[in-house]
């Protein structure tokens, strides 16, 4: 039986690649879950674009400060060595190329690294950009966590994005519920695939050509609380 990764397992897998000493911005949704799963021995500084470097865990119930929040508007704590600054300084940090990595959610990623994650083309809702375009353009590396296909089964990894693009040619790694892929010179290279899923089945769920790396491994993750 083939079991796709849960949201928490995808976040766990992405977290295993966070390097000791890295400065990292985690986007809303699945990416921010990764902070829960980074190996404990690694010191990682999480940046929040509203002006924090060194975001700690969410504050315990009743103990949060409403004037101390992260970019998801959650009341948070700060880690040792944290600092606080204003938004213009925070985006200078982003745009200036000082963050090692951002992990973002996406509607689509193209084989050339184009990212689409800001405009869902909803008929009666307004647009929301937030910090996505600056992060995608400014961070040294952009990784994406997203399900491999939409709820209706359409591929999210595509030859060309049909959703409005956030930034061009920026994504270098994608974590899905089926695979881990690198984007290398316009090719999607599969590094890991979940047990039991055939290469042809993964290709059928992808709307761009796949290359399977010679060292392609099994994608496994521990059982984690948090359901699907």
């Amino acid at each position: 039986m083939i079991t796709p990764l849960t949201r928490h397992q995808m976040a766990w897998r992405a977290a295993q690649d966070l390097a000791d000493g890295a400065y990292v911005n985690l986007g809303l949704g699945m990416p921010v879950l990764a902070a829960n799963y980074a190996p404990a021995e690694r010191e990682i500084f999480y940046h929040s674009e509203n002006g924090v470097l060194g975001v700690g865990p969410v504050a315990p119930p009743g103990q949060g400060d409403p004037e101390l929040v992260d970019a998801g508007s959650q009341m948070v704590t700060l880690r040792d060595g944290a600092s606080i600054f204003d938004s213009a300084a925070s985006f200078a940090m982003i745009r200036g190329g000082h963050l090692d990595l951002t992990i973002l959610g996406a509607f689509q990623v193209a084989a050339n690294g184009d990212l689409a994650n800001w405009d869902a083309l909803s008929a009666d809702k307004g647009p929301l950009i937030g910090g996505a375009m600056d992060l995608a353009m400014g961070a040294k590396a952009v990784h994406v966590i997203m399900r491999h296909t939409t709820r209706r089964g359409a591929a999210r990894l595509v030859t060309e994005c049909s959703y409005p693009v956030t930034a061009r040619g920026v994504v270098s790694r994608v974590y899905t519920d089926l695979a881990v892929l690198d984007i290398d010179q316009g090719r999607l290279v599969v590094r890991e695939i979940i047990p039991g899923l055939g290469h042809d089945e993964l290709a059928a769920a992808t709307d761009a050509p796949l290359t399977f790396g010679p060292d392609c491994r099994e994608l496994t993750a521990p059982d984690l609380a948090g359901g699907i």
Binding site: S48, E49, N50, G51, V52, D65, P66, E67, L68, V69, D70, A71, G72, S73, Q74, I84, F85, D86, S87, A88, S90, F91, A92, I94, R95, D114, D124, K125, G126, P127, L128, I129, G130, G131, A132, M133, D134, M137, G138, P164, V165, T166, A167, R168, G169
Partner: protein, 224 residues
Amino acid sequence: MINKVVGDPAAAMAGIHAGASIMISGFGNAGIPGTLVRALGAMNLTGLTLIMNAIRRIDECDPSLFDNRRVDHVITTAFRGPDAAPASYERQWKRGEMTLDILPQGTFAERIRAGGAGIPAFYTPTATGTSLVEGREQRDFNGRTCVLEEALTADFALLRAQKADRYGNLYFRGTQANFGSAMATAAQTTIVEVDEISETGLRPEEVHLPGIYVQRVLRAPRRH
């Protein structure tokens, strides 16, 4: 003698007129000047331009601003209501009753910073390759395409801080500063609500925003 402290919201908001452009600080619930926003709603002014990071936070403070059609133009990075059903401002925009400039958050912050710093325009790589820059002036620097962005200023800025003194010096708590530091520099008149007025004056080392950028301070402890 300098004393920028005012006694009530009406005095704080004096002079805000129909058609004014108003920057409002805040990210999440941090640094939102709720008392000043509610005072603005009570003034029943029309034709306002509001400049803020996320419109939903201002709607949560005072829905009358949008329900009663006080706002003609919005400059923001997040123009999406929290619910599946469209909010009043989303419906007004779809009907063409309100115009919208939607910006990347860093470009938004930097346009305001530039406005307060005497920089009329700058180039940034953010948003190049997207629908936002179609037809706009672009130029390559060191092999990287950038788009020209102009400075953003306003008639008024509304901020929240933790502490002020009579000179208008501000101390921010937590992540209160967010867009407020830049907005204060980019507005003709900056109005700040604070939890505390320091009678002895802030120590120079704890001044996050110098009083030169602040015209009025109102004591308005946060409502939890």
